[in-house]
Symmetry: C2
Amino acid sequence: MAQTGTRAAATTAAIEEAALDLALAHGYETVTVDRICEQVGISQRTFFNHFPTKDDAILGREMPSIDERAARAFVLADGPLLLDALLLIPVPEGDAAPPRMDERMRIIAGHPHLLARQIERVSTLEAELREIISQRIAHADPAGDDAARESESALITCLMGGMMRFATSEASAARRGESMASRVEEARGVLERVLAR
Amino acid sequence: MAQTGTRAAATTAAIEEAALDLALAHGYETVTVDRICEQVGISQRTFFNHFPTKDDAILGREMPSIDERAARAFVLADGPLLLDALLLIPVPEGDAAPPRMDERMRIIAGHPHLLARQIERVSTLEAELREIISQRIAHADPAGDDAARESESALITCLMGGMMRFATSEASAARRGESMASRVEEARGVLERVLAR
DNA sequence: AAGGCAGTGTGCAGTCACTGCATGAAAGGT
DNA sequence: ACCTTTCATGCAGTGACTGCACACTGCCTT
């Protein structure tokens, strides 16, 4: 499934690229797996050896991950919990960003189920996220009880999912075409105003 | 697609029921559309005339909707916006609940993609929800500017999705098997604590 | 009574995503 | 040169879903 050698890696990359190209050129739904395979020059079986799903091929292989530094800063910070938590949203930017992220986003935006899947993927980090949030709460309130801490961190994790959806949605039409980082920044501002009410 | 006459309605109901029965008896993934059709005594084609998707058959036809009274109360309330918004989460209960809701929930709980779909369905109400939230903000702050109001209500809508996910998740393991209403109540409590931080 | 229309169900044949299994070829270390 | 691991493949199947043309059933009109 997750193959590691360089040969396989090359194939994986080729599939990813072809999938993206075709989807951009002809639209997501008209692109079949067979078509992608044809383009890459591999068999369908091989395709599914590399990606469990057509969707995954389009979303790409690298999963976002939580920035260590941001996590540490978050644990020690003492601002409003919800706002600080936004620091944890992984925002691939610049060189670290998976290549062609913007093109991907364009496709994702038009296909809600891809967005859902993307968020579901991020929530693979849920455990990690919860753990970090839990630490922060423990740090701020060493006397708190465990169960409370657990449910609070779980809830914040869910809310983060909502924030991501907002950030990636076109709700902020003004932000269309802008980077993920600036969208999150925008979302932060809106959240601040909401919390003030 | 959505057929209205009583005859069709009966068929729809029969499909829904059979789907649920079979899923409960043999597990969601082992239940095929063909199996459901066999049970009901219809053709596969007919099945898909009634439900666009196998998932939809299991989730059922009636969509949750926002309670009018709750909406009015929300618009006029003046508590913390996020907390008040929880009032809007449609919580089918008692007689008003679609029949066998609890059994459905049991299946949904074990199949994340069904949950995602359910939430996606609720978000069909997004426009309505946004409108109501927008009214509330306008009521509280008549001088506010339109764009801000729009983005704020959109964001809250997204956060509501997160709250729903939390409420339906097993995060609050203690609540397992309890009604949706009490889960939302629990979630409300946790959110209060979080906001206090 | 005859004809027509709308609502509903059906059979068929096909497309597409995805899987299990067994086999083959190439890479790379020894 | 030998052997093991890694990759790719072919095949044959399953299961969801669609388009199409056709058939049956009222019911309404004339």
